[in-house]
């Protein structure tokens, strides 16, 4: 693989080394045939198909999509960005879990410590918070985009229903995280939100009791919503997301063109 463009020694040597490295057994065992990271990748229709088929992406994307579907102005990537934000929130959320204890008053102190004692603690918390607001926004915009394109029409009706459930779960995830800093904002915003549940007819008191884990908000409420926030709701939303993504492909990919 000596370079033929006359750049000479060093570039050629580096190219040689890089090619040799990317063709080594260890490297090729990591990247499946057709991967552009492998040595000797050539841009052919067959290899382009392999990039998708031999990849975890295979579960998300088909090998080919309608040309109008890749137009940025059609989807604005809103669904994909919602999923990406979910991934960002999962990663930053795991980081925060290392430094957070869902007890009173420790929860509040831990959040304070994030800003003072933990490297990048405040930054990661900011990302988690603003990312959560952004995700509510992108999920909502994704829904309106889908509506205006009529993308809920047969055979995509059920995926719309799953999408509405995902919107609800996104709101619940955001709301359940709202209480965790255990400050005045968290406590009273949560109070207003959870009081709405208590207006339910007949079951109002039971709903309220279940929501706050007692007759009034306490450290038990904190633990309850912590578990909902970091385990239960993410678990449920991942299940629904799987169905959602799977149905997108099964129902024929992006709808349209208009």
């Amino acid at each position: 693989m000596a370079d033929g463009n006359g750049n000479g020694g060093l570039t050629g040597l580096l190219n040689d080394l890089s090619e040799q490295f990317r063709s080594s057994q260890v490297w090729t065992s990591i990247f499946r045939p057709g991967s552009p990271f492998r040595g000797g990748y050539s841009d052919s229709p067959r290899n382009r198909s392999y990039v998708v088929m031999n990849n975890v992406m295979y579960h998300l994307h088909p090998v080919k999509v309608k040309r109008h579907g890749v137009r940025l102005s059609y989807t604005l990537c809103l669904g994909g960005l919602s999923f990406f934000l979910f991934v960002v929130l999962t990663i930053t959320g795991i980081f925060l879990m290392f430094y957070y204890r869902p007890t009173s008053p420790q929860a509040y102190l831990d959040i304070q410590a994030l800003a003072t004692d933990v490297a990048f603690g405040q930054f990661v918390r900011n990302m988690h918070r603003w990312g959560a607001h952004l995700m509510v926004l992108t999920v909502f915009l994704h829904m309106t985009r889908v509506f205006y394109h009529g993308a809920y029409k047969p055979p995509r009706e059920f995926n719309w229903v799953v999408g509405v459930i995902l919107l609800l779960l996104t709101l619940l995830l955001s709301f359940s995280g709202y209480l965790l800093p255990w400050d005045q904002l968290a406590l009273w915003a949560f109070t207003v939100g959870s009081t709405m549940g208590s207006y339910a007819p007949v079951f109002g008191d039971s709903v309220s009791f279940a929501l706050i884990g007692g007759v009034q908000i306490s450290a038990d409420t904190l633990l309850r919503w912590y578990v909902l926030h970091v385990l239960f709701l993410p678990f449920i939303i991942v299940l629904f997301m799987s169905v959602h993504f799977w149905r997108v492909r099964k129902d024929g990919g992006v709808s349209g063109p208009l």
């Binding site: 998708v52 960005l81 509040y108 309106t144 509405v164 207006y199």
Partner: protein
């Protein structure tokens, strides 16, 4: 001929052999083109006309106007079945057009297969009358008239769709979108701290106390309706109605011009929700009373740190 299934060809050859009193193998060889056509006078059928249904879809022929198309002949009977136009009218139209074009009468020419595999007796107007077929006693000649409808066997309809490879066309776009949102999120997170007020105090309720911003539309509704209506019925009904949209809106078109009503209704609710949320966020102050944000200040804790 090559695409006629073996067994159909065989059956057809057997039938013809029986009719003409010739050995099956000879007829079969002739049909498959391995032997020259027997110059028997008992062979009135034009060459190339097989009593076997060809699997070609019938749709290739009938859409054209009933004019002889190069092949020299036209099968009015089959066309009549195909289009539903009475045979006599078709015949007249074809003749008239041929006359107008100065062509020989196409209905007289031998049927040339086309999309429909048809075996018809030679038209009676042929100049040289064919000699009576030498059919053995007791054997009846069967003529087969078959119109193979498209879709009856197999609908091979390849709709050309304009597709591109996901790699690199879609993945590159998605990657850039991902980077952009990550940069925005990182920048905001560097410069704007998430709010953290004082330690939770059950004895000191801030005034006003507001829900998270995405619930402020509902909280705004609480100012107008009974809590049971605003807090339970409206959100529950709203969610259910949202889920049922695909089953309520039965209009199959996705073109915006065809679905003005649906778009109008949806837009109405989206705008209403946005207005309620903005109103609840910025225009509600202490006691959840109406305020002007530019005169009385902003009472929206979610935004406090951004504004500081």
């Amino acid at each position: 001929m090559a695409d006629i299934p073996e067994d159909i060809l065989r059956r057809s050859a057997e039938a013809r052999a029986r009719a003409e009193g010739r050995p099956v193998e000879e007829v079969l060889a002739e049909m498959t083109g391995e032997a020259p056509a027997a110059s028997s006078p008992a062979e009135p059928a034009p060459a190339g006309t097989e009593p076997a249904p060809a699997p070609a879809p019938a749709e290739t022929a009938p859409a054209a106007p009933p004019v002889a198309s190069g092949n020299g002949g036209i099968d009015v009977a089959a066309l009549s079945v195909e289009t539903g136009v009475p045979e006599a009218i078709l015949l007249r139209a074809t003749r008239a057009r041929a006359k107008h074009d100065g062509l020989p009468d196409p209905t007289i020419a031998a049927p040339a297969g086309g999309g429909t595999a048809v075996a018809t007796a030679p038209p009676p107007t042929t100049t040289a009358p064919a000699p009576a077929p030498a059919v053995p006693e007791g054997v009846r000649t069967q003529r087969l008239l078959t119109v193979v409808k498209a879709g009856a066997i197999q609908q091979v309809k390849s709709e050309p769709t304009d597709k591109v490879s996901v790699w690199p066309h879609l993945l590159a776009i998605e990657f850039v979108a991902l980077l952009v949102i990550l940069v925005v999120l990182t920048a905001v997170s560097i410069f704007v701290d998430a709010p953290l007020l004082e330690f939770a105090n059950f004895n000191e309720q801030p005034n006003p106390s507001k829900a998270p911003w995405y619930f402020l539309g509902l909280q705004e509704l609480l100012a107008y309706f009974d809590p049971m209506v605003a807090g339970v019925f409206i959100p529950t009904f709203g969610l259910i109605a949202l889920m049922f949209i695909p089953y309520i809106d039965r209009n199959p078109s996705i073109r915006p011009s065809d679905r003005k009503l649906a778009i109008m209704i949806f837009t109405f609710f989206i705008v209403a929700a946005a207005i309620l949320t903005i109103f609840g966020s910025f225009f509600r102050g202490p006691g959840f009373n109406f305020v002007f944000p530019w005169r009385d200040g902003i009472f929206f804790d979610d935004l406090l740190t951004i504004l500081d």
